[in-house]
């Protein structure tokens, strides 16, 4: 079942990242992080960017390190890794541009 776990890794990471970013978004709004300036932005955006960026880095690692499998199993592993990466990049890209708590 190792190949199945590997094929599910990308989508599972997306689900974890999506839940984490959504939770962090709610927590930051409740704690007023958007009003605490950090560097060129605010604490809320920084925290969201950091989490999203770390998650994307994890996805890229999954895409770049393919196990030696073959046939449809390899195809599913590749597909799973890319599904995760594209999903995380697309569904969470709003953290880059939108205001957080309006």
């Amino acid at each position: 079942m190792a190949w199945m776990v590997r094929a599910l890794a990308g989508p599972v990471l997306w689900a974890t990242l999506f839940s984490g970013v959504y939770a962090l978004h709610g927590l930051g709004c409740a704690r007023g992080w958007q009003q605490q300036p950090v560097l060129w932005g605010d604490l809320h955006h920084m925290a969201l960017w950091a989490l999203w960026g770390a998650g994307l880095a994890g996805h890229v690692m999954l895409v770049r390190t393919m196990p030696c499998d073959q046939g449809i199993r390899r195809w599913l592993i590749v597909a799973g890794a890319w599904i995760g990466l594209v999903s995380s990049a697309f569904t969470l890209f709003p953290v880059t541009i939108l205001s957080t708590c309006l």
Binding site: M1, W3, M4, A7, L8, P11, V12, W14, A15, F18, V21, Y22, A23, H25, G26, L27, C29, A30, G71, I72, R73, W75, L76, A79, G80, I83, V86, S87, F90, T91, L92, F93, P94, V95, L98, S99, T100, C101, L102
Partner: protein, 832 residues
């Protein structure tokens, strides 16, 4: 080794008689209550679902009659509220889900090459829970106390203040009762697909239908628990005034919406996936080719299963959530169209590459394309926040959801019914009736709902019973109502066609569609045991009908007089052992009655008697375990020349063990949903922080530590008991574990006594809920400890026989984990 030598050929009639004696249901009414055979239970599920569909359809006609004119006097407002609520609830909970469950239960063993589902008694229990729960919900309409708050039962409309009668309780308790069948089916389907396939059928070469059903079952395991939890919390608020959704005491109505739609949106895909499985099965056969892009479709299923859990907030775009969060869910809602489109293009490509035969199932498939694609496109429109704000809660959404659900579920399922009807009835259909029914349904549907988009864009809200001030809505509504009646005639004709086929159709020949899959490698109608011998790689398709009937496959006949089926390794399909399945028994129906007594007492408001229902259920559950072990070692079973496998009593990784893991996945999701509730209310809800905790801190701390220590010791004891199961020491460890388990439960009672009044604030209610959750699992784990102890003392443990110990270990580890997490959460709340 995948080249298993064939068994010696035998007389097919002899094998048939031998197997039928073992697998056939009891005759008469007794058979109705005692059957556990997947064929019988699956068909019953489907037949009952269509009865509820007819009831829901009549309610739809009442709605259309009321809305045909501006000042409809057909129904008063109160009754209209009940009618539209019941229409939605029946179609979602009593028709769609049970129909897919029935199809899965009936079909899966046939396409996988097995004799039955993994847990036959669980199938029967699920059916009776569905029958009793569904009947209760429908009867409430007769008595005028039906749910009337919409099929999503939003709070505060459904709380005790705004719905003081039992209407909402009927929904909450009835639907939860019915959902037991959904959870049972989800566990069954998962385990059957993973462990009950034909020998050496790897996951990667399963029929696509099995992939779709595996995705469906996984989604059900994760998707239903949030609603189950939400229903329990709302019922706790209604019955005992625990304020989870009461703003004035730290609750929040939006918590209900989150929990409901965490279930509600995946539900759409739970319904769609099995229907898509039917499409992927039928389209290549009726196109005389093979499916295009098997791997791409499996990847699309994978994507859909996950992405569908990231969309739920698009049902809540107008409740005041910050823009950034809306954008997450808007993007996810748009993205989910991609895997859906991959499947649509794979089906179109398959048809393009083959020669399409426009037989009746293909007509319904064309109906699917013409309907579902439109529903998908309006879905993408609704995924865009600005448009959603305009169209929210209008008839546009009603039209969209009917295009998706009827297009994505009803049309494919009608195709599936017409496809597999020869296998169900053994008869061929009467020409002409089915085609007429299809065109009536298709024209009626689009006549009803296409114009409803316009009605919505003109501003007509959902759930209104009259619109005297809006004459511009009258013509489109009248058109919808007229075509609604046409659609109803179509469905009635479809039902008539099925009955006529069953009663008067000519005998069907074998494999009438020339399909390649294993489900057609059997006589028609399908026998009670499916296969006289089980398929091997040599007999992997529909052409194997004669060798399998002559016993040349695995496990021929029933020489030991048991219901036996092959269990394989989950990934590779390597034969692992032989499972001896349960025979006909009335235990499931009595267990359903016991569970129903609890729900009935709650519904009657006899809360302090309701624990009797729980006790009755525990007694019945105890009886289930009584037949799950043996007192002596059994010899290996001859499966094929040179292949002897042990019976399941001698294995650790049994079907039951895999089932426990699947169940705990769902159970863990309930707990995760409870943690979500804690986090959501702590962060979002008004009236926080909660008033200071007034409990007696030091005794509470001691009780908590004692419970956790005792619980940890039980895990250790279970491990030791399993380690020395063949020696007399095992009984010592099982007894020690049982005593420690009881001690942990007593400590939890001490904890409960020290809690603040749960009615004071939602934080206190959440803590009580966390403790209640842990205590319920403590009772289950203690029962398993007791069962393991009995096994040790009745010679059910041996060198290879483990009795209930593996399940006990598993549940106890889970109990320890959730208890420790709950304690951690409470401590974190206090510290932070």
């Amino acid at each position: 080794m995948t080249d298993i030598p064939p068994n010696k050929a035998q007389r097919a009639l002899h094998l048939h008689r031998e197997l039928d004696r073992v697998w056939a249901d009891d005759p008469g009414l007794r058979g109705f209550f005692t059957s556990v055979n997947h064929g019988t239970i699956g068909l019953r599920f489907m037949a009952t679902a269509f009865v509820f569909f007819a009831i829901g359809g009549v309610l739809a006609m009442l709605i259309r009659a009321q809305l045909a004119t501006r000042k409809g006097a057909f129904l008063d407002s109160e009754l209209y509220n009940q009618v539209f609520t019941m229409h939605g609830s029946i179609m979602m909970f009593l028709f769609a889900i049970p129909l897919l469950e029935g199809l899965a239960l009936w079909l899966l063993p046939k396409i996988l090459g097995a004799r039955d589902m993994a847990f036959p008694r669980l199938s029967a229990l699920g059916y009776f829970c569905y029958l009793f729960g569904g009947t209760t919900i429908v009867l409430s309409l007769v008595f005028g106390v039906a749910p009337d708050g919409g099929w999503f039962m939003y709070v505060p409309l459904s709380d005790k203040v705004h719905t003081p009668g039992v209407n909402a309780d009927v929904w909450l308790l009835g639907v939860t009762f019915v959902e037991i069948s959904a959870m049972a089916a989800a566990v069954e389907i998962t385990v059957t697909i993973l462990r009950c396939r034909a020998a050496h059928m790897p996951l990667t070469r399963m029929p696509l239908m099995a992939w779709y059903l595996l995705g469906t079952a996984a989604m059900m395991l994760i998707g239903f628990p949030p609603l189950i939890l939400g229903s329990i919390l709302l019922e706790l608020q209604r019955a005992f005034d625990w304020p989870f959704f009461d703003v004035s005491r730290g609750g929040d109505p939006l918590l209900w919406q989150h929990l409901f739609w965490l279930f509600g949106h995946p539900e759409v895909y739970i319904i769609f996936l099995p229907a898509a499985g039917a499409l992927s099965t039928i389209i290549p056969v009726l196109s005389r080719t093979t499916i295009l892009g098997y791997g791409a479709i499996v990847a699309a299923i994978l994507g859909l299963v996950f992405l569908s859990f990231g969309l739920w907030v698009h049902h809540m775009f107008t409740v005041g959530i910050p823009h950034m969060a809306l954008a997450f869910f808007s993007a996810a809602s748009a993205l989910v169209a991609v895997p859906t489109a991959v499947q649509i293009f794979a089906w179109i490509g398959t048809m393009y590459g083959g020669q399409v035969q426009f037989r009746l199932p293909m007509l319904y498939i064309m109906g699917f394309f013409g309907t579902f694609v439109l529903g998908g496109l309006t879905g993408v429109m609704l995924a865009m926040v600005p448009f959603n704000w305009q169209a929210h809660d209008t008839a546009f959404v009603t039209a969209h959801l009917h295009y998706v659900l009827v297009g994505g579920f009803v049309f494919p399922m009608l195709a599936a019914v017409t496809w597999w009807m020869p296998m169900i009835s053994g008869r061929w259909r009467i020409s002409g009736l089915g085609e007429t029914a299809f065109w009536l349904i298709f024209i009626g549907f689009h006549g009803t709902f296409l114009i409803m988009h316009l009605t919505g864009l003109l501003g007509m809200p959902r759930r209104v019973d009259a619109y005297p001030g809006n004459p511009e809505w009258e013509i489109p509504n009248l058109i919808s109502s007229v075509f609604g009646m046409v659609q109803a005639m179509g469905f009635a004709l479809f039902a008539f066609d099925m009955v006529m086929q069953w009663l008067f159709g000519r005998r069907s020949w074998r494999n009438p569609w020339h399909a390649p899959t294993l489900d057609w490698a059997m006589p028609l109608p399908a026998p009670s045991y499916n296969f006289a011998s089980l398929p091997t790689p040599l007999h992997g398709d529909a052409n194997a009908v004669l060798p399998l009937a002559k016993g040349q496959g695995l496990l021929p006949g029933a020489p030991r007089g048991h219901r036996e089926t092959l269990v394989v390794d989950a990934a590779s399909g390597r034969p692992d052992h032989v499972a001896v399945l349960a025979r006909s028994t009335a235990l499931p129906v009595w267990t359903a009655v016991a569970i129903g007594s609890f729900f009935g007492l709650m519904l009657a408001g006899l809360y302090w008697l309701a624990p009797l229902g729980i006790v009755a259920t525990l007694v019945m559950v105890w009886r289930w375990g009584a037949i799950m072990g043996v007192e002596r070692d059994l010899p290996p079973i001859d499966v094929a020349p040179g292949l002897n496998l042990p019976p399941h009593f001698h294995k650790r990784q049994t079907l039951a063990y895999t089932g426990c893991i699947a169940f705990l996945v769902a159970d863990g999701t309930v707990f995760a949903s409870l943690l979500f509730a804690v986090g959501f209310l702590s962060v979002i809800a008004p009236e926080w922080p909660a008033p200071g905790a007034g409990y007696r801190a030091v005794p509470m701390l001691f009780a908590t530590a004692a419970a956790l220590l005792s619980s940890a010791f039980v895990v250790y004891a279970a491990r030791r008991a399993e380690g020395c199961r063949g020696a007399p020491d095992a009984a010592i460890w099982t007894r020690a574990g049982l005593c420690a388990s009881v001690l942990a439960l007593i400590c939890m009672c001490g904890l409960a006594a020290g809690l603040d009044d749960p009615r004071r604030h939602s934080r206190d209610a959440l803590r009580a809920a966390l403790l209640g959750y842990a205590a319920v699992h403590g009772i289950v784990a203690t029962m398993l400890a007791l069962r393991a102890d009995r096994d040790a003392r009745t010679n059910r443990l041996g060198a290879e026989r483990r009795g209930a110990i593996p399940a006990w270990r598993l549940f106890h580890q889970f109990w320890l984990t959730v208890t420790a997490t709950g304690v951690g959460i409470v401590l974190a709340q206090e510290v932070l």
